[in-house]
Symmetry: C3
Subunit: 349 residues, 3 copies
């Protein structure tokens, strides 16, 4: 038995398989500082213990996406070491708050398999749960990824595309958000006067700012998440790839776009669910990321008067300012678009 | 009302205006680690809990400049988003120690306004207070910044250049420094045998070492401070600017120079006040920073036998070693100079 | 007396000299996060408090090499500021666990001196102890370094090459490893089913992955360790050196190789001793590091049934995959080799 992992190929997966991924990871204040330094995020509850405690948290929570990336990173050696592309996300739910001192582990179930028509590869669907040290599910999500076959002649494993919700039902949101004392929410300190009710369906917001990405930054981030996908790290081998460059982890783009969205969505302090996500095009070091958002929907939360949910679609671009809201064009996307991300955010009412 | 901030222009300011800036920020051990990794600072009380506790601190304090940069960063969206240049600092005072676990917020008052003769812009003077979670002022300072007018034809707001002290009075120093047990100060562990009394007015010290700056480093640092000034981050837009490059945050230069100054001023463990600061020329990634210092003055602190104050002027240069002490030349500066920084430091007596 | 340190030259050393190095350094969770983000290390006990506590640690220990680098960094101003090259290590022992909250200081004794035949330089041997806040030796090691003479005509100091063990005796290992509850070791979460007994002498393991290094990364790491050797930081002066570039700290290479070795040695969770280490060739930014290991020996630990020791030789290369195990060739090494590192690791039995 080889001591080194070379990763699973498409024909190695089967429906119902479960992976208890290595390695659990304790998150602490240092991870929060690094996350802040990598993205410049400014949402008030995550930034300041005082703000968090005043509204009802025990302490500043760990950023939702930091928790997501750490859980995602664990799945790579078992699921996507031989991936061609990470295709999409659905049914992502943030169920319990994560705080400094918590330890996250990840478990994935194979929930769908579909061979590509060229028989060179197939799409693997996994539902991943991020578990805290008490064994509670802190977050879960489905992702699907195109994985190479070891042997194109191998028979495809049985399976099908799973039925996935086009959006997480707003009735189920809010598990990771404690009851918020809205009267204690300081709208000067949070950076915007705009509450949940101030946004309307169809509203578009250009987040204005742009940020250029360096190789050192995305590699430091991706290692922080213990994500080992070699396309992000190895210029010596990637020089021979079709792009000739290291690919930036898609989650890095999501976090950059989320941080940029503060300018326009400063009170959208919590990602409650990920409805859908698509990495439309790759990002490379030296590119500058911009973003804009559209409010797709708004929904109250059952039994809660403190916070409401906005369904937000954030589009990220590269080297393309977003004043004109570049997005879908015909069958595809504007050439500058790199990310199409659809999520539920909570805001104070 | 637009959801996104586009920043104030010169004609939007008025004397007496107060801004309670977003977003408060809790500082923790992770921020201290990152600060150490970004600058390589080695002052013993900030580096080691043991050293700090032995001399009288409860624990290693947060570096004075880290606290300063975090407070400064908060002011950018309200004050300097449309700034052409950050011109200077005065009357900076460090009034209370900052420790891991403290949360800093910032409030600024507009204390001076002066339109430039070209009517395209004006200079805005703000006094900023950094407040801890108890509402105490941990530090305050005045800075002035040149801000664009939205409309050159707009009437200039009323105001004038405020009267500012050329230096902070040494009688007022020391609020952020607890009583120090000098007998417990280990001069081997602190890196130098030189006490306050070993320095003389006019003494010049070449700090010898040089450090090259990378894009990833200054952006990580500036985001750690939640400073969002776009000139530091967006190569796509800065390519069209007069420099064609991202500008490095001036505070990054101050911290680099301060860290270099350890070699010669190892026991100058605390910045008690900022008398004046001027960013003489911009720094860009790839440049190498050197520094030298001159002792401008020395003063005891009223009622304290433990520490004394040195008034230090630190000059930082780029791509220019400082053995010959490059500084002022005629009306201007030696071409390599980027920073002229005048501060009071405390040393054990 | 000059206020600035210019470092010792070969003729300034004498046998029996002791240096109490500046500056002690408290290690905390932020340092562990940064270390993780710089190398992507995934060994389970260091990654997760839960895993560590289940097997017998009080909390996740600080990575052995992070502690080593911090101790090493302190020695630079006193020992190797005028070094030409760091030549080797021996008799390195990890004697007590290091945890977040601990403070490390360093003391070195000069144990050997030998002038080079050209009389321009000589080799200095120092034994360095890393002391925790209780004054206990957490780790110690011997290193030797080639140091310039200030004056080639100066008489060489008396001394000789010290007798050094070719390997640390396995009977002395394990001081930094608490008793491990192997029944509680979760081999799924740790990333590999392979125990101590699954490895055999002579076994070779290609660690497969490669990682490209950026200037910002190695400088951030080296500053985290407060290592001030100017060759790592100053491109302005290094442009005139024989390489024309900044040299990457050798310890950075050791940590990169160790992190890569997870793929094949995932349960080798603790470095108990460093038998020998040699930096065969320099590493520069832009290079991609690969690694492979050979099992040189296996030994039980006296009186312990929980863990066993493997003597591992890890070879790191640059821009050279290791499927063919490039290593010694005749009198020298394969041209891609940069590191030859021989250590004892502990694994669960």
């Amino acid at each position: 038995m080889s001591k080194t992992a070379s990763g699973r190929y498409f024909e190695d997966f089967e429906i119902g398989q479960t992976f208890a991924h290595a390695t659990p990871r304790s998150l602490n204040a240092g991870d929060a500082s690094l996350y802040s330094a990598l993205y410049g995020t400014r949402f008030a509850p995550q930034s300041a213990d005082t703000f968090a405690q005043r509204i009802g948290y025990g302490a500043a929570p760990i950023d939702d996406l930091l928790a997501f990336h750490v859980v995602f990173g664990k799945t790579v050696p078992d699921v996507s070491l031989n991936a061609i592309a990470n295709l999409g996300y659905a049914e992502g739910r943030f169920l319990r708050p994560v705080h400094a001192g918590d330890t996250l582990a990840a478990v994935s179930d194979v929930v769908g398999l579909k061979e590509n028509s060229n028989r060179q590869s197939g799409v693997v669907y996994v539902r991943t749960r991020g578990l805290n040290q008490r064994g509670e599910t802190a977050l879960d999500y489905v992702r699907w990824v195109m994985v190479r076959k070891r042997d194109p002649a191998a028979p495809a494993p049985a399976g099908a595309v799973p039925a996935l919700a086009s959006a997480v039902s707003p009735e189920t949101l809010g598990g990771a958000c404690p009851p918020i004392d809205v009267a204690a929410w300081d709208f000067a300190l949070s950076g915007s006067p705009h509450r949940w009710g101030d946004y309307v369906r169809g509203e578009r917001i250009d987040h204005v700012d742009g940020v250029t990405v360096e190789e050192a930054e995305h590699m430091i981030a991706t290692r922080l998440y213990q994500n080992t996908a070699k396309v992000h790290f190895n210029q010596h081998s990637e020089a021979q790839s079709r792009f000739g460059r290291r690919l930036i982890y898609g989650g890095h783009v999501i976090s950059l776009a989320r941080a940029l969205s503060f300018n326009g969505l400063a009170n959208a302090f919590h990602i409650a669910a990920i409805n859908a996500g698509r990495h439309v095009a790759p990002l490379f070091a030296g590119d500058t990321v911009y973003a804009w958002s559209e409010i797709l929907d708004a929904a109250p939360l059952p039994g809660r008067e403190d916070v409401g949910a906005l369904r937000v679609r954030t589009i990220a671009t590269k080297n393309q300012p977003c004043a004109d809201f570049p997005g879908r064009e015909g069958e595809g996307y504007h050439e500058g678009v790199i990310l199409d991300f659809d999520y539920w955010a909570l805001l104070p009412r």
